[in-house]
Symmetry: D3
Subunit: 340 residues, 6 copies
């Protein structure tokens, strides 16, 4: 890594993760580098002068930072830059906060940065999930669908990008690896559906599950932070996914199969008001939608529940805004009665 605009070596500097700061002692002096999420110049409420209020982050979370004095001496940087700085750790209402030394702040050159250190990532094992994905591909018997899946996921660049892609900005699976995680989960639920409804075509259902969200690779970007691309905002991932797959069909791919794959990608959100281009019109498309719905909603609920339980308030009931209702955040179930 090297700094922009000033000559400097930070080779010996150890990265300290944001999540570890809360375990360090109040008043610790440290040297660190973090992504700038928010930057505001604020005037003092009742005396002349300004200070700098920042939100900094890495892949483990965000932290407030303040620069009280001499802010005219701070070298220029913007939101979405990564900065190096010296600071003193200072707790406030039990939460850590960084007080920066103005002249120590320096912007890092973006090319020198390993961005994955600064963007939240799945806590699942990406390699393990990749293996699961390819096992699912191998389990597809239909020769055409097998060939299509290999053409898509066998492409190294595609797969590299697919593994990193988030599946959302603010909802479920909104982190690096989220698309892979969600895709494998949906396919596994589809496998369970096959056990209950064997009349469905497993090859079609699993293929649809693996392909349904590939458009998110172009709908979202994650560098320097997770956001929506221009074409993502203008077309949405179902239409983008259909465009992408149209370039991947092997020659001599049956027309009636092609059109079903398009349909499963375009319809997986179920209803127009929830983003489906068309509603599902055959069993496998509807089953895919239900599996997708289950995984997305459950992931969201469990994330909210986890956050509610982690709150220091320890309330029994927490209002969950995205759900529009109270959920239980009291004692977890006693697990000691397991008959092992």
């Amino acid at each position: 890594m090297h700094l922009l605009g000033i000559s400097c070596t930070i080779g010996e500097q150890l990265k300290i993760y944001v999540k570890d700061l809360k375990n360090m002692k109040d008043g610790t002096n440290l040297h660190n580098f973090l992504l700038v999420l928010k930057k505001e110049i604020r005037s003092f409420a009742d005396k002349p002068g300004n200070y700098l209020s920042l939100v900094l982050s890495d892949k483990t979370g965000g932290i407030e930072a303040i620069c009280w004095d001499d802010i005219d001496k701070v070298r220029p940087f913007d939101e979405e830059d990564i900065i190096s700085f010296k600071a003193k750790l200072s707790f406030w209402k039990g939460e850590p906060r960084l007080v920066l030394e103005p002249q120590s702040i320096a912007q890092l050159s973006p090319e020198s940065v390993d961005w994955k250190e600064f963007v939240p990532s799945t806590d699942k094992d990406i390699d393990k999930m990749t293996t699961d994905l390819f096992k699912l591909i191998d389990s597809v018997d239909n020769v055409h669908l097998q060939a299509l899946l290999k053409a898509v996921f066998g492409d190294k660049d595609f797969m590299e990008s697919f593994k990193n892609s988030p599946a959302a900005v603010t909802h479920h699976h909104n982190y690096i690896g989220g698309l892979l995680e969600h895709t494998v989960s949906v396919a596994k639920i589809c496998d369970a559906i096959m056990a209950v409804y064997p009349e469905l075509d497993r090859d079609l259902l699993i293929s649809g599950a693996l392909l349904h969200d590939i458009g998110k690779m172009r709908e979202y970007k994650w560098k320097p932070r997770i956001g929506v691309t221009t074409e993502g905002g203008f077309a949405g991932h179902p239409a983008l996914g259909a465009f992408m797959i149209s370039k991947k069909f092997p020659s001599e791919f049956p027309e009636d199969l092609k059109i079903r794959i398009y349909h499963m990608i375009l319809s997986h959100h179920g209803e127009g008001e929830f983003g489906a281009v068309v509603p599902p019109k055959f069993g496998e498309a509807y089953a895919l939608h239900l599996a997708e719905y289950l995984d997305a909603k459950l992931k969201e609920f469990l994330s909210i529940e986890e956050k509610a339980r982690e709150s220091p308030d320890k309330r029994e009931w927490t209002y969950a805004i995205p759900l529009g209702r109270f959920i239980y955040s009291g004692e977890k179930l006693d697990k000691s009665d397991k008959n092992v």
Copy 2:
């Protein structure tokens, strides 16, 4: 079997199933017994006099029947009776219709009847599903939940009634064995959820899945046809299920577990507008709701799709009223490309 009001032997009579009638020759004379679903006296449109218009059925389906003449000579019977009759088979627009001999009609004594011959039943294997159910019970490690499930499903009378209960009147799983089928399916989908979300408590989730719809045993009746009971209409199956389970808790069952079981039964419909007494407020309750929703909606869709495909019209698009949209009823996917 014996007839009401007349002395008669029909021991040698072979039951002919409704679904087999369409393969018999026009004009065949036959002797059969069927359940009366509808009975109307209609006047001829443009001449004096009345005829009898019936809908008759057994577990394989329904058929129209007509009695043109001498209807004053027909012995009395009502809807929901089972009648014995002689008739001539007569096709109309490709569909079979029975023309009854008025004086041959006789009501069967209800006690002598094997009612399961006359009410639609699951096409799955009830014994196999029962075995699956008990395997699921055995897989629950928590000693209290294990004891509760044994107290409920180990009761012979309960289990006999549970196996026969339908899970609906007009929607998904509306046949004998439907409750068992739906219950096992939901529990299997919950098992798949555990593979994806291992942080959930499997014992609680599987127990909730097995118990969530037991109230339907008191909400519905199936003899002489599937319908809603008085208490079913006044209280609904979630509240009835909670009442039922309250009598089954073993002594020393933990209070916090009890209240979670109640909650899973009361909340499994997800939202108040879809019949939930309260919305799901912890992860396992929400996961159960999603699994229940998936199974119910997919079963409904697949039934509608199957019916649409069976229609003689052979249209590519069929309007599905319960779904409020067109679904595809054209050619099924060619399955010959399997790479076996």
Copy 3:
């Protein structure tokens, strides 16, 4: 024209349009050919035997037809065939009905048929509207958009198909030429919007208006009757239109313009629940949606109002099912007070 299956000459036969039948005398014998919309074999209500009940049509409307006797002597034909027949005109409740001679019925060979004689068509002048369309294209100043529009509408085969395409099956503009009519109307309303909101980019707005519904050319078919295609049902016209336009962009077409054209096609329905793939996200896309909405809704209202007024009932208020309310179908406004 020639008949299928029998050798026959009907060269001298004059086509009589359905709308003219109501002005002919009861009992007239006639020889005609019409499209079969519905065909049912019905049994007589209270005597043995069957008759044939048909709905026949040409581009001017539909009429009931009956074949009372000897229906086993009728040569085979199906719905969507065109048949030649002899019949007697017979009025019923003031409405004309055809009583067919069974042995006169013969199917026409589809290739020999001018299908536009049998499918409803716009009552506007297609040539005039085509001229209007090209004037609008010429008025676009932006060189890239001008080139794109010429590439699309300058293609003879495309234009031939575009001119014939309906814009719906049951709603507004559901007839041959409906797509052209709707397209030109929307573009004209967009021109009016420009007069009020000159800050919008006219070139973009007019181009979007002309291109927004081209996907309907593949969503609908009109031969032998207006219906939805397989790909139309599976993908919908916004996604199909985006696919179609992707093949038409001239090389060196600016990317930011391309993405806006895609967006206008994908978003013109306004909201997901009304079929938009994404909602409109810039002013010209939103203006296009509003113009499209205005034309579609007003056309539908005026068609319903016209039909209500034509009803023989002469009621002041008519319940309009597609609108979900009563509309006024009483006296039209006296127009004699014009100050000319």
Copy 4:
């Protein structure tokens, strides 16, 4: 009363009610005890150090309190404790605020506290309403319903708890005595309904009115502040009410009457989306729902209107968030034109 953790006598201390503080002089020194609703440690915005920000309350309302200095010398206490303290009254934007002396703060022992002094209570006369309730019970002619009501409300412990119970946390009747007040109001409106619709069964309607909300006794707690219980959040008051009544039916209570009482309790919210377990299915249940709806909605509206009028802003129109619209908060109607 006595303090926790320190030996102290406050026998001579006079309780000063929050609502009276606004009439006292700025700068008054006082000694008081209040319930802690909120407690936050806040750091100063632009200097080192923390202060304590509290919300304190008693039954007459809430007030902000601040402890600026030496907060490390404050003895420990938590939200929902009652504390004794010395403070100086200090007005801010016309509103009173308490500045506490850090070392004066002491927690009171919960058992020594009369909690009703600290929780808002109905401004109606509880004894008068209790009398009204028993008159209504006496007016029920049906011997079974009479016996049931006596079994329920004749139980001293039940009645004591019923009289104190609130009917909500944030909506209508959210104070001690709210359940009693709402119950009597609903029953009175039901009596008015009887005058207009004498075909209804008054005994059933009045009994349903008196019993419909008893589940709220277990859904809500009011000590130390009004909130939802664990079982309340998991089951809701309609299901809890049905459980509670099931233990109270006299032996030989007619089954058809029992099931109607259950139904009225379970259905009184009218629609599933508003909390009904089942919708009302007979006239008395529907009438009860309408009376309940009227009382709840009107109480809420009048509370909001009263608060809007009390606002110092004196605006003519006030946006009422729970109603989603502006209401009139201008001049009240001149009442001087009464013709007395």
Copy 5:
């Protein structure tokens, strides 16, 4: 009474009410006069020729009537005429039907008819309700409101028309006297509200209740059958009522009171989607809306319930289309346990 177009005396003819026909003997010959609700010429389904199918009615109900033969000899008449005829009573599926003698049919002169004999009317006592109305007026203390109510209801022509007006075409109170009945009921419920919420202004509330629906006098007509007027369809009764009251204010009526009366008339439907011009914005207007809602909904429910119980089917559950759900139509509650 006299007949149109033919000389005839029917002075001695006794009117037989439709509701009494079901108690007369099959085959009875009778001479009667009834209002023609529907008139259709139908062709026989499977033989040449037409017959006449009518629906006839008087204030007690409707009945089907048929004229089989010689319909060319029937003298001309239209829907909404009153006809005199000879007929034979003939039962069909237990329901009476009239078979008319073609040449006996004759139209009555509209002026000679007492129309109230042919339009359904309230079964309450109109004089009694009128007395109640004036008692309510007398109970209003405010001199201005008292004067306004006297100006409105003291006008003889107004009152005559008010007493006859229906309050709906197909919903609640859709009969002569319905407006009076509904008005008095709403005012009585408002009186009950005053007992519970004495802080409301009784004079304003009762006056609003009495005036809220006067626009229905111009929205509906009842001669020859209940329907919507032209101005009723174009403006609606809230706007018409506001117009009507604007002509009735005594001079020197306070402006702030006037505007409140307007508001109560314009807002009584509560929400725009249910017909309110504006939503209620002060307490008395909201209370009026709730009372109006209660009376309208309960009347509708009770009418549906009564009809469901009267159905010969004797089903326990009846699907009530206007309510969108099943209601209970089983056994009524045993009333023998009254403790009288």
Copy 6:
């Protein structure tokens, strides 16, 4: 202009517009007069004492203002007053803020004020739009409608008030001249509709367009700021417009035309839930609604888009709260490719 309460001359004072302040130098001393939109006394967060926080505005925008010291020396004034003051300009986060001198503040006498200087106004040319309006009136051929329009808009006082009236408080056209601007726009869109749907009655449509919103003249006031009047809040502009027009009809105006004009005013919002008194029931009323909808929605969208683009954030996507979704606020389309 003169000040209230103090003798003073400010004749030589030049008004400085708020929008120009951002181009002035930090620290500039200035003397100005502005409308007070908000006035709050705030205490310092962590020291004793209060300061004054104001929002001041003129027709070009609003600005924050602070008075730190000696606020007890400030002469009294209220929100909605216009004050004269001396201040120093001080930038904060790039935004200008005024620091007032306490003793310089003085209230201006309302009568001496040109209020249009302080309320936002249309940026269109009012005279030009007035000319357009009268051209539209002249184009109406129907003698009765022509006379009506002249009676309305030919009234000088009416026209003066009409030209100044805003068309909303917070939505589209919420500024002086907004009603005129919206009215002319709607009429122009109606003219475009006539080109596409010539079967509509142009005279009726244009007249309806010109008259549809006249009730807003009484619904809104704009002095001292734009707000809702008492009668506006109680009756709404459709009902007020109908009242107003009822006084303007020339004698001998045809009844059927009158009722249509009423209807177009009452129905122009389309649906009850969007404020229509009745929904549109004939073609011209529906066309007017659609034109009105188009203009209102497009104006709102374009205002939001403009504001989003002006934000200093320069984000590509901006969440538009009134639209409930993200809109594009990135680069505008390159306009250099015009083929001029």
